[in-house]
Assembly symmetry: C2
DNA sequence: ACCTGAACACCGTTCAAGT
DNA sequence: ACCTGAACACCGTTCAAGT
């Protein structure tokens, strides 16, 4: 578990990953806004200027961190597709539930990914790719249903966007504390996700 | 247009509102994260310690600013209800479109209101009341439809939450730039809102 | 190559002091 | 009552200098 180098001069063989690990700790503990490059450097046992050898600026470190979140999300959605391949409606519903549960379990990460923390321009290629990969995982869930003809609308984008909006909106409302009274426990959150999932599938109208 | 006082000693009869106006300017120009109390004070022509006479800390100023946004939102939803009182489905759809348009027109304000900028605890009474007032305006839109029996689910909370989640999610995805390609123009945004509104009303399933 | 330490221009917040 | 100016402990970023 010790560092790969025995020299005293350079404390790290892999400072970049040490910095990312420290940043994720701060993210979990105190949120994206409380991540300071100087504290991340201190956690890694290095001077406050050292991070600039590995990241152009703070933004680049935050983008690298958000990438982890998008990878996690894409994987979870693909798992839903694999698990319910025989029942495409259940696959989409389960994917939605998973989306909300993941967001609520990692609220700070979700806010970093979707909360306007990162600049809209200058997004790194890797971040863009991981975001698109997560969206593609959703599209594949939709395609399962389209292949069986279960959806009213044949446009995969329309169907995917409606599902994404519904589950994303519920997630953000819970995370931001707008539903504090009715989303306190994990059971309540699952029920909320199922409720809006049901409305998504069958519609509000009689 | 000049200050209400002729004295040179105190530049403001209403420093509190001058500070709020300056903060809103910074919010629009550069986002919530870029609001600094020191710059707000400079915009009002006052020392950097003066704001502390009117706000306990930066958080309190930001909360006062977010209150304005919630009032605007509540009013817009009530207008939809008044305009389409005879057609409750249209009222809810129009309310949803308005929600998205308002969010896209004021992205920085929306992120201040819903983006995890404000602390979840210590929310001022006024902010909480304005948030609840906006939610009540949504519930009244739902009640119009319940009175005519148009909804499958008789629970007003379930219906309201599904509608809110859908429109809130779409708004946040657009604002955060996740739909950059397909939400560039105002017309495209209206079409997206109508598309998910249609899915909300009729459901994804055939 | 990789890191340090000083420096610069910022922050939020506090507090004695002025009028 | 209302505001100022100095002070403190932080920031992100840059850069000459060390090994």
């Amino acid at each position: 578990m010790a560092g790969p180098s025995e020299h005293k001069d350079y404390h790290h063989g892999d400072l970049r990953n040490s910095l990312l690990a420290g940043a994720e700790t701060l993210l979990r503990q105190r949120g994206a806004a409380a991540i300071s490059l100087r504290e991340v450097a201190k956690l890694a046992g290095v001077s406050h200027a050292a991070p600039y050898r590995h990241f152009r600026d703070k933004e680049e470190l935050l983008q690298a961190l958000a990438t982890v979140g998008f990878k996690r999300l894409a994987q979870a959605l693909r798992d839903s597709g694999a698990k319910y391949a025989h029942d495409p409606a259940a696959a989409l519903l389960h994917g939605g539930e998973t989306y909300v549960e993941l967001a609520v379990q990692h609220p700070q990460m979700t806010q970093l990914m979707f909360g306007g923390v990162l600049s809209k321009e200058n997004r790194s290629l890797e971040l863009a790719e991981c975001g698109e990969s997560a969206f593609e995982a959703l599209l594949e869930l939709v395609d399962l249903g389209l292949a069986r003809g279960i959806y009213r609308n044949g446009d995969r984008m329309d169907t995917a966007l409606a599902a994404w909006s519904m589950m994303h909106g519920l997630s953000m409302l819970i995370i931001d504390g707008q539903l504090r009274d009715s989303a306190a426990t994990q059971d309540q959150i699952r029920d909320l996700a199922r409720g809006v999932g049901n409305a998504l599938m069958h519609g509000l109208l009689r």
